[in-house]
């Protein structure tokens, strides 16, 4: 077993990491959890957001501000992607399954290689006042960057949950997920609502991308690692439940952090944690913690 102080440190860092994981999974929680789009390219779009943040930060912008600014163009990008997906697959009906997945897989590849061609395979990072410093509490040092990301993650999560629960469009998005034909009978256009929701999901991914590059260096192929993390969080959280996504993010963050800190396991086992968790959930409780 772990000594108590190590365990405490693991849990503490796990909570910080977990809030970050919840935030990077929020977009997927909407696009895949609520809209049922097999969005395997979600992490790739997020990494694209990181690189856009990198470019803006090099021009002197604060990375968090850059991430917020990027939300507008990414919103449009998301609407465009969904429109294309709808016209090419959903509208033609039934057999979208295999080809829809293949489409997003291809899209992820194109983004990844595009980033390699534009920026090379080297790791990139951003500079800011809060990056590089750390706070000390007794023996434990917490890097400021994780605290900054934690703050942004909490704000983002709260705002998105409120938006979905309180506003008219937010409720409409939830309604699309619950019963599309009924919405159609009410005279609403489910495709337009889905397009809007996908735009929001993509905008959230832009901010998530900014957090990704604040918390550590980013490279183009990083999306492959985050496919497992984001899908694990969304599935464990119960597809589209915001509370579930937060809880699942914390569970993943804490388990990964404890594996990381554990003397017998360490960093080489950490990437398997999210996937093992995902397999476990799929095998035992596919509807997740807060299933709809």
């Amino acid at each position: 077993m772990l000594p108590l102080d190590l365990l405490f440190e693991g849990v503490l860092f796990g909570i910080l990491l977990g809030a970050f994981y919840a935030a990077v999974s929020m977009g997927l929680s909407v696009s895949f959890g609520l809209l049922d789009v097999p969005h395997v390219a979600h992490p790739a779009i997020m990494v694209f957001g990181s690189y856009c943040t990198f470019v803006l930060a090099r021009m002197g912008l604060d990375p968090i501000v850059a991430g917020v600014l990027l939300m507008a163009p990414f919103f449009l990008l998301g609407m465009l992607v969904y429109r294309f997906y709808y016209e090419a697959f959903e509208r033609r009906g039934a057999e979208a399954g295999v080809r829809g997945i293949a489409f997003f897989f291809g899209l992820a590849l194109i983004i990844e290689v595009g980033l390699i061609l534009a920026f090379g395979v080297d790791q990139r990072l951003v500079e800011a006042a809060y990056i590089g410093q750390s706070l000390r509490f007794g023996d434990i040092r917490i890097p400021m960057r994780t605290l900054a990301v934690f703050g942004v993650a909490v704000v983002l999560t709260v705002l998105l949950s409120l938006y979905l629960a309180k506003t008219f469009t937010g409720r409409a998005i939830k309604a699309v997920a619950q019963d599309e034909p009924a919405l159609r009978l009410m005279g609403a256009d489910p495709v337009r609502i889905k397009q809007w929701a996908f735009g929001i999901a993509t905008a959230v991914s832009a901010l998530a991308g900014a957090m990704l590059i604040i918390i550590g260096p980013v490279e183009p192929a990083m999306d492959r690692l985050y496919i497992g993390r984001t899908f694990a969080v969304v599935v464990l959280g119960g597809l589209g439940s915001m509370t579930g996504t937060i809880a699942a993010g914390l569970i993943l963050g804490i388990s990964e952090s404890i594996v990381l800190i554990h003397p017998a396991l360490g960093a080489s086992w950490a990437p398997a944690v999210s996937f093992a968790l995902l397999l476990l959930v799929l095998a035992i409780r596919p509807q997740g913690l807060f299933g709809r």
């Binding site: 895949f32 097999p38 395997v40 090419a88 057999e95 399954g97 295999v98 080809r99 997945i101 293949a102 489409f103 897989f105 291809g106 899209l107 992820a108 590849l109 194109i110 990844e112 290689v113 595009g114 390699i116 061609l117 492959r224 496919i227 497992g228 899908f231 599935v235 080489s268 086992w269 990437p271 398997a272 996937f275 093992a276 995902l278 397999l279 799929l282 095998a283 596919p286």
Partner: protein, 311 residues
């Protein structure tokens, strides 16, 4: 009859090439193309016939490669036995993973297979005897007579495997198993209600598909004279195995063969003339273009053109 005759002709051509062509690069490149024929054909048994998207190709392929490497390191087993053992191991992986995950549908199954890849990779990174994260250097034994170079021998072995895989896929497609798998793809509920043993068929397809991928992986350490986890369990294998049938056409055994021959020849060409990144980009773009514009692949396009011709 025509099918078997053409198999024999192709095999004869391959062997003749191995004894006449002097340029070794032809065999290096040809080996990779044939490898993708096996992977694409194997992928199509589950992905094309039954409609279950498998991103786990690297897990099966990599387990096969490591089985070959470890057996060679431990007992210096001959290549044939390495391949047989690799097929067995990856087949077992297919059996267990299939039984666990094939109750899942669509994207859930696909994500579960990505999980399989990462877990296998992590396991081998942490296994010291198999070289850990740094990998294992292997020395090739001398080639078996009548081959004068090892790479030519590997080329002929891979060609034989490709033909075997195609024959197996064709057999499955034409048998009641293939009909059952197609019924699953069209409507799993309807198939289940009509008495098709859906789970058993899916697990069977996953096992056969995994065994073929593992067998195809076994000669890889000998080909590279080296094995290392991150390139062995690379998702690029999954991309190739999935994109080839999508481009060629998933419904027929000929689809993945056409797709793999075209795609990997193109990839070899692009890698040599432009760059390795460009080669991945080509696959991504072709994949997206085909799934959007030509859902039935090249075979579907050919059929359409043929129908118009007759009219």
């Amino acid at each position: 009859m025509k099918f078997w005759a053409s198999l024999v002709v192709v095999l004869a051509l391959v062997v003749a090439a191995a004894f006449t062509v002097k340029n070794e690069f032809v065999f290096y490149a040809g080996y990779t193309v044939l490898l993708y024929v096996v992977l694409a054909t194997a992928w199509n048994i589950l992905g094309g016939y039954a409609g279950y998207v498998n991103f786990g190709t690297p897990a099966f392929f990599g387990l096969g490669a490591y089985t070959g490497a470890v057996l060679y390191k431990a007992f210096a087993l001959p290549l044939g036995l390495q391949i047989a053992a690799a097929a067995l191991m990856s087949g077992l992986l297919g059996l267990f993973a299939g039984a666990l995950t094939l109750r899942l549908r669509g994207i859930f199954f696909a994500i579960a297979t990505i999980a399989l890849v990462v877990i296998m990779e992590t396991a081998f990174i942490n296994w010291r005897y198999a070289g850990g994260a740094t990998g294992l250097q292997l020395l090739r034994p001398p080639p078996t007579a009548p081959f004068e170079s090892y790479i030519k021998m590997l080329f002929v072995v891979m060609a034989a495997m490709a033909l075997g895989a195609v024959a197996l896929a064709r057999y499955i497609q034409d048998s009641w198993i293939g009909r059952g798998l197609r019924a699953i793809r069209d409507s799993e509920e309807a198939a289940e209600c009509s008495g098709v043993p859906t789970l058993r068929l899916k697990v069977f397809a996953c096992t056969v598909s995994g065994a073929l991928m593992g067998a195809a992986g076994a000669p890889m350490p000998m080909y590279l004279q080296y094995i290392e986890p991150s390139s062995t369990f690379n998702l690029n294998y999954a991309v190739g195995a999935l994109a080839s049938p999508m481009i060629g056409g998933t419904g027929h055994w000929l689809g993945p063969v056409i797709g793999a021959l075209l795609l990997s020849s193109l990839q070899q060409y692009v890698t040599v003339t432009i760059s390795n990144e460009m080669n991945v980009l080509v696959v991504g773009v072709l994949l997206v273009v085909f799934v959007v514009a030509a859902p039935e692949g090249i075979l579907g396009l050919a059929k359409k053109v043929g129908a118009r011709w007759k009219r």
